[in-house]
Amino acid sequence: MAEFHEISPNASATEKLVNWVDNRFPMTKLFKEHMSEYYAPKNFNFWYIFGSLSLLVLVIQIVTGIFLTMNYKPDAALAFGSVEYIMRDVPWGWLIRYMHSTGASAFFIVVYLHMFRGLMYGSYRKPRELIWIFGCAIFLALMAEAFMGYLLPWGQMSYWGAQVIVNLFSAIPFIGPDLALLIRGDYVVGDATLNRFFSFHVIAVPLVLLGLVVAHIIALHEVGSNNPDGVEIKATRGADGRPLDGIPFHPYYSVHDVFGVGIFLFVFSAIVFFAPELGGYFLEYNNFIPADPLKTPLHIAPVWYFTPFYSMLRAVTSEMMYVLIACVLLGAGLGVVKFKMPTIFKAAIVGFAVVVVAMMLAIDAKFWGVVAMGGGVVILFFLPWLDFSPVKSIRYRPSWHKYLYAVFVLDFLVLGYLGMLPPSAIGGRVSQLGTLFYFGFFLLMPWWSRLGEPKPVPSRVTFVAH
């Protein structure tokens, strides 16, 4: 606890006010800790803008969301009309709505790029595991937020997208049908579903999201930021105890981020004002038809940001199950043959594999598709314990690691693209391969990340003055 600090009676009114507050609330202390004396590595590059942009988009979504909520009606009979009311009769309602709908897609773009930066530079590695885990939880919450928000305009895609996704839960053995009923609050998506999704979308999930964002930032400021070289700047300190390669976040990165915000808002506004539908990717054409429970659209596609995971869901067919069973058996076999361990552990591995295979044979492939879709996100949480590379950053890894990461990105994009298309024979095969690669990339990481000769890591960051 800080001492009560008396200030000179000659001090200015501002100084007196600040002193008054500081004696009661750690205002200056917080500002110093998180801004003016938070030392960030000076070698951040382009990829480091997406963290603060995510925060900006979060603020845009919350503020526009507040105004949308003032005019939106969460009622199956009124919802579609109330969105059009916002678009036509509410002053500047169209701008608020387009900012919110474009913001949803923008959120995923900046978050995907932010996550990819973490993946490239090993920002999830010790001691930043919790930052990564909080971040993955944010991603999961964001998906829930986007999914439930998408039901609210009550168009055909809103309705049938929710119908398809909620029905997936009914594939879970034993509890599935009851769980789906609990989520919908009805036997089909209806008024009850709309009301509860609205409640989750405007208050429950945003609260969780905000809490996680605070935890993400506190954890980050506790250990300090990583950088493109993966060098710990705290290891090299000057006489004053400050990291030699660190610069105060404020003003250096605050002006840096303002510049980034300018570029981002330029692109964002170009979409909002000139192409708010973005060719059907940000606002789907079918969603301008009011929800009709009796008319199923021919092709139900989720919004683009869910499609990589949707592809994984569709990839798991009963045929694919045999491939997955072979993978489980192969993994268990290698585990038993390759590693030295007591027989009891080997027996446990074999037993576990047998149980898993039995379940894979007994339960419908649709359920395993759901597992794959969820697993595609959940596996990210384990990344800090899958990567055994001796170096953090891609810069000092063997060159072929870069190609592997490039293939991973390509794989993710192809899965996303295929997820938007109606199912096809060739597309199905490609997404099956893509799904195997996606999971292989993570599950085999403990092995491949050790392979190859890493390049020497410098003791200081590499930086060229601007």
């Binding site: 059009e84 036509r88 330029f266 170009a270 054409y285």
Partner: protein
């Protein structure tokens, strides 16, 4: 007599309902869409489109999210709207409701005529914009005595709606031609045969439909042109802002060695 009436109505409804589903499928790969003219900035065209819309479409279709007085945006005064476009003794602040009861319409055509407020936005697809679809659709009705209404449509095969603009366009029939391409034989429209003349020449009719479709496009999002105009200023502002932020950033960072 009663049973015949019922079964006839039932068949009619069934055909129309089937037509809706088949039509939706056919819109993916059927008749190619023509490019619609964009006259959403042309007040005279929009006013003519609004007149056609109120006279021909609003009898069966509604535009429930569109208020009559929004037509001030296309240069009409409240008095003009009241005198020329309000058919009943409604108020200019009312939304555009259909003249017929939707329930009756459902019985007559087998399906409720859809609301047209955002029809141009919802009908866009891989083949073009929603306006392109509507422009093609309104110009490809043809006489088909095998259909309950006596009308069929190339962009929307087996449609339940009769050709409401037939007096303007007259009766027409497409002449098909078999075209073999990559081993697939498809029926392509070679030309149109005019069976009886309409009150408009084909050119005049295309102009009128162009106006109507531009109106529908405008009505789908009345703010669309204002949005673009504001957007230009927003981008100019952000361009200057970003330039200043860039220089400010450089001024600070020149100290970082």
């Amino acid at each position: 007599m009663k049973t015949i009436g019922f079964s006839k109505k039932f068949v009619l409804a069934l055909v129309a309902a089937l037509g809706l589903t088949v039509g939706a499928q056919a819109s993916e790969g059927g008749h190619p869409w023509d490019k619609a003219p964009n006259r959403t900035n042309d007040m005279a065209a929009l006013q003519n489109g609004a007149k056609l819309f109120v006279n021909y479409c609003l009898n069966c279709h509604s535009a429930a999210f569109m208020r009559f007085n929004r037509l001030q945006d296309i240069g009409l005064t409240n008095q003009q709207i009241k005198d020329n476009l309000l058919v009943t003794n409604g108020k200019v602040g009312d939304t555009m409701k259909a003249a017929i009861d939707p329930k009756q319409a459902g019985e007559w055509f087998g399906a409720n005529p859809p609301d047209l407020s955002v029809i141009a936005r919802s009908r866009a697809g891989a083949q073009g914009s929603g306006a392109d679809y509507l422009y093609t659709y309104m110009r490809t009705f043809y006489r088909d005595e095998t259909k309950p209404t006596g009308w069929n449509n190339l962009a929307f095969p087996n449609i339940g709606m009769p050709h409401v603009l037939w007096e303007l366009q007259g009766d027409r029939r497409p002449v098909f031609e078999s075209v073999t391409e990559h081993g697939h034989t498809t029926q392509v429209v070679k030309k149109w045969e005019q069976l009886s003349p309409g009150t408009m020449s084909p050119e005049q009719y295309d102009q009128a439909v162009g106006d109507l479709v531009s109106y529908l496009q405008w009505m789908g999002e009345p703010v669309q042109n204002a949005r673009v105009r504001i957007g230009v200023w927003v981008l100019i502002f952000l361009g200057i802002f970003t330039f200043l932020a860039w220089r400010l950033n450089a001024a600070y960072w020149k100290d970082v060695k």
